[in-house]
């Protein structure tokens, strides 16, 4: 599936800003065999004082900006064309949950896609006892790691209500879980916490969803904003699989990936003083249109 992407983020500041450094993680990722980027560019208005690119530890493309002082408005526009190749696999080659630790022990690489990075609690995804209990119950009958991923994803989808107003970007997962509501970020981080409690390495994926549904299909939840889902490591043979708990499905051709991290903080679209400046309003719009 070939997609045309457009992301716009706008900041309006009540008071002129000071000099500010920002990191952007909003460009689609080139993922061999899964996603080809034909074109992608970011335009900043007004132009930054400094701008550079680097690739972070997890392989994500990062745009580094220094914005001049005295701004009352900043616009970030990303456009791109991406071919998504993913097909949902029905074949379950994953390890049993008992076998998973041994599989993991055999892995000795610490590259960006090593499962070892994603097993321990991280800053925004601590171990939460009620989530661990929930995960244990939800996956009681799962014979394989992949089944456990599906069982937990489905259970969270059933347990939680999508509500864009109920949580903030900084709401702790324990609170979102107790309130049984939230957005894709909450659904995903709760699922990751549950998977890690079961010994399944799990990563946070930031990306987009197609905005125009295939003919006859309903529009997906979360398509009008940036999206997030879960990547789980299910054994040496099967490797990674991706699951979207917000839409209760394995990830395939309807998703476009930006990057991976241990939690939201590793792949936040904008990091830096702009997000922290007082008295600001933000608007954010996304269009992901299928061309073929």
């Amino acid at each position: 599936m070939l997609y045309r992407l457009r992301l716009s983020i706008r900041y309006d500041f009540a008071r002129p800003t000071g000099v500010g450094r920002q990191l952007l993680r909003i460009s689609p990722a080139d993922l061999p065999g899964m996603q080809d980027v034909h074109h992608s560019s970011i335009v900043i208005t007004p132009p930054p004082a400094e701008r550079s690119q680097f690739t972070d530890f997890f392989g994500n493309e990062v745009t580094q900006l220094v914005m001049p002082a005295g701004l009352t408005q900043v616009r970030i526009d990303m456009t791109g064309r991406v071919r998504r190749l993913g097909e949902e696999s029905e074949l379950d080659l994953s390890a049993s949950l008992d076998r998973l630790p041994d599989d993991l022990h055999e892995i000795t690489d610490l590259g960006p896609h090593s499962p070892h990075h994603f097993l321990r609690p991280s800053h925004r995804i601590p171990a939460v006892a009620p989530i661990a209990d929930f995960a244990r119950k939800a996956c009681g009958k799962a014979a394989t790691a992949r089944e456990a991923v599906e069982c937990l994803g489905r259970a969270i989808h059933g347990h939680m209500r999508f509500d864009a107003q109920a949580t903030e970007v900084d709401t702790p997962i324990a609170q979102a879980f107790a309130g049984r509501h939230g957005v894709c970020q909450d659904f995903s981080q709760i699922m990751i916490s549950g998977l890690r409690s079961l010994g399944i390495p799990a990563a946070y994926v930031s990306g987009f969803l197609r905005t125009n549904p295939p003919p006859g299909k309903p529009r997906l939840e979360g398509a009008d904003a940036m999206h997030a889902w879960v990547r789980a490591w299910i054994g040496a043979e099967a490797g990674w699989c991706e699951y979207d708990p917000t839409n209760d499905c394995f990830v395939a051709a309807n998703h476009v990936t930006i990057g991976y991290g241990r939690d939201y903080a590793d792949v936040a679209p904008v990091t830096g003083s702009m997000r922290l400046a007082g008295g600001q309003t933000t608007s954010h719009s996304v269009d992901i249109l299928a061309e073929d």
Partner: protein, 795 residues
Amino acid sequence: MAGDRADSLEQPRSAAYRPLPGVPDEMVAPDGKVRPLWRKLVAHLDALPDDGLARDLARADRYLLDSGVFYRQYGGGESVERPWPLSHIPVLLAEKEWKDIGAALRQRADLLEAVMADLYGPNELVETGRLPAALVAGNPEWLRPMVGVKPRGGHFLHFLAFELGRGPDGEWWVLADRAQAPSGAGYALENRVATSRAFSELYPDGNVHRLAGFFRNFRDALQAQATDKDSRVAILTPGPMNETYFEHAYIARYLGFTLLEGDDLCVSGDRLMVRTVQGMRQVDVLWRRLDAQYADPLELDPASRIGTPGMVAALRAGAVTMVNALGSGVLETRALMAFLPKLAPDLVGAPLAMPNIATWWCGDPAARAAVRASPRRMVLADALTTRLPFDPTDDLTRAVGLPAEVLDRRLTEGGGDLVAQEAVTLSTTPALVDGALVPRPMTLRVYLARTARGWAVMPGGFARIGTGADVSALAMQEGGAAADVWVVSPLPVPAITMARQVSAADTRMAAGGLPARSADNLFWLGRYAERAEGIVRLMRAYHTRLAESGGTGAPLLAGFDPLFRQMGIDPAAAIPQKLLDNLSAAIGSAGSVRDRFSPDAWSALHDIDRSARKLAPKVSAGDDAARALSALLRKLAGISGLVHENMYRFVGWRFLTIGRLHERAMGTAALLAVLCDPKAPEGALDLAIEVGDSILTHRRRFTLNASRATVIDLLALDPLNPRALRHQIDGLREQVDMLPAANDHGALSPLAREALRLHTDLATAEPASLTTEALWGLRARIAMLSDILTTTYFH
């Protein structure tokens, strides 16, 4: 006392010293005899009567108190400054033994460098199974943004410390590695000065290796890393609330480095810059005392408020030498000690010359079996902890205390999260407790610094001395004292001081630039101290009048009210809260510039604050208060002297002076506007002369009684009267003119221009033209100077 002395004359002090059975002692050999190395010290101690010893030890304590040596302790939600707990008896070690220790630690430092280079480089140790992946990937000190970042100059590690203990067989072992930002080297220096004062007859000819050479070499090594030889090395501190901030300021002062907080720095064009009153200056060698994760909120801990956004980008660009590289905290991981002995032959070509304390990472089945087999010998802890093995906040469990099934379950379920270490015991060294020498357990902290000629070992260090007779390392959790370590040579040692290169360091200092934050704090220190003095003078005059009037509400007393209102003083209290607030604020400002501030002035400031607080609830209005305020005023004058007369006349001193002149100008303008107002009550003019501290001058210049014209002339217009408004404004103009970029070949900055205008207006004024309104107008213009100064230099 006399009886004690008689006893001690009969029996030497050392005779009662009894090492603990089966525990090696530093002073006494297993045969019960004092070791040859210690004989001079022991003879000295035995020869001293109790009062002589007490007097000698008091010299050391006095030194520590006068220098303001303290550390900050946290507990119960608040932090307090504690005096430094010196154990007066130094630990003596023979030069020959020290050489072996040094060689072993140099090897260990090289090993740590090699491990660090691998963990932040190719990661072959994990790849080839020599280190477990979980130990690295799950480690919060392994900072992913630093992976692949090559350190400028090629080395990750520049300054390390090792915590050592001596085991039952008399051999040393490593208890812990300190690689994040080792503290204590400055305290070691202070221990040395204090201890050498206590033993001033013994130390100079005692063949004790000096510490200064080590610091000098490290300073030169750091300075050599700077690309611009005129730039200054900076020490990055978390700030005054940190436990060891005293030490950061002390070392900065001792080595002539700039002390910076994260907020002083910014990254521009991938270069690290410090905001100074002279504009942005590049810093490219940073000795950090800040834990790495706080260094950059953008790429490390986003919650950090003490970091510098972009620091990691500057490091990636190779623009900064960081001592030590960010991420070095991973080397302190306790479970790593289970693997270092096995890694040594490969990475440094030989087995470890000094073993570390036996350690088992319980993620390994063989290690779990070892722990189950002999729980009696084991202490369990979090595998990834970086705390010292005797840190009081560490969660340690003696495996032997656990029921077998609990131990078994913990090992099975959380094996990879656990580390087991042998429960070691330590040697003892003499400490004085209530005048008697007793054996106390000790550990040794040894420092290594990278210099042009490789790792240099500080010939000394500091020893932690336990509080009781329990020699298990774990008992050091109870806290204790610190002692100096004397490395004793059989031959006389060369005297070394920092002095040799002082002139070079001074040139660098001039070029370094004054951080804007320091300038701001110095300016306000000047203002707060002067304001405190103004309040004391006014209150003293008030209470004197109150006493004279017999406590009745004389009209003159009401004349004070506008001044009280102006200064926010509630006269009901003899020592007003406003004064205490000002003193706290002055201490706060001074505390942020301790690297530039004389320790005597710092002690004096604390002393007056203590006095004022002690007096506040006690003194009663009238004469009693006037006398108390006079005492405070004398102390304040002492501070002014210490601060102003003992500070090098450089940019920092100018800001301090400007603060003082500015505040005094403001106060004098208000004083004259109120007390020289034609409607002021009778006696107001005399009062103005008294508060303006110009009684004698007035008498000398004008034989007649005070009139409005004489008072205005003396206190507003006389350029020779150091209390006059004119004198402050002249001083302000002169200092402002010498600030950076103030006067560029006659082109004046807005600040210099305004100061000149004020000066001109006052120089051409006459008593009659300085009406009450004109005085208030002048005061408002003086206030504006502070605003201009702030926007020009402190942002």
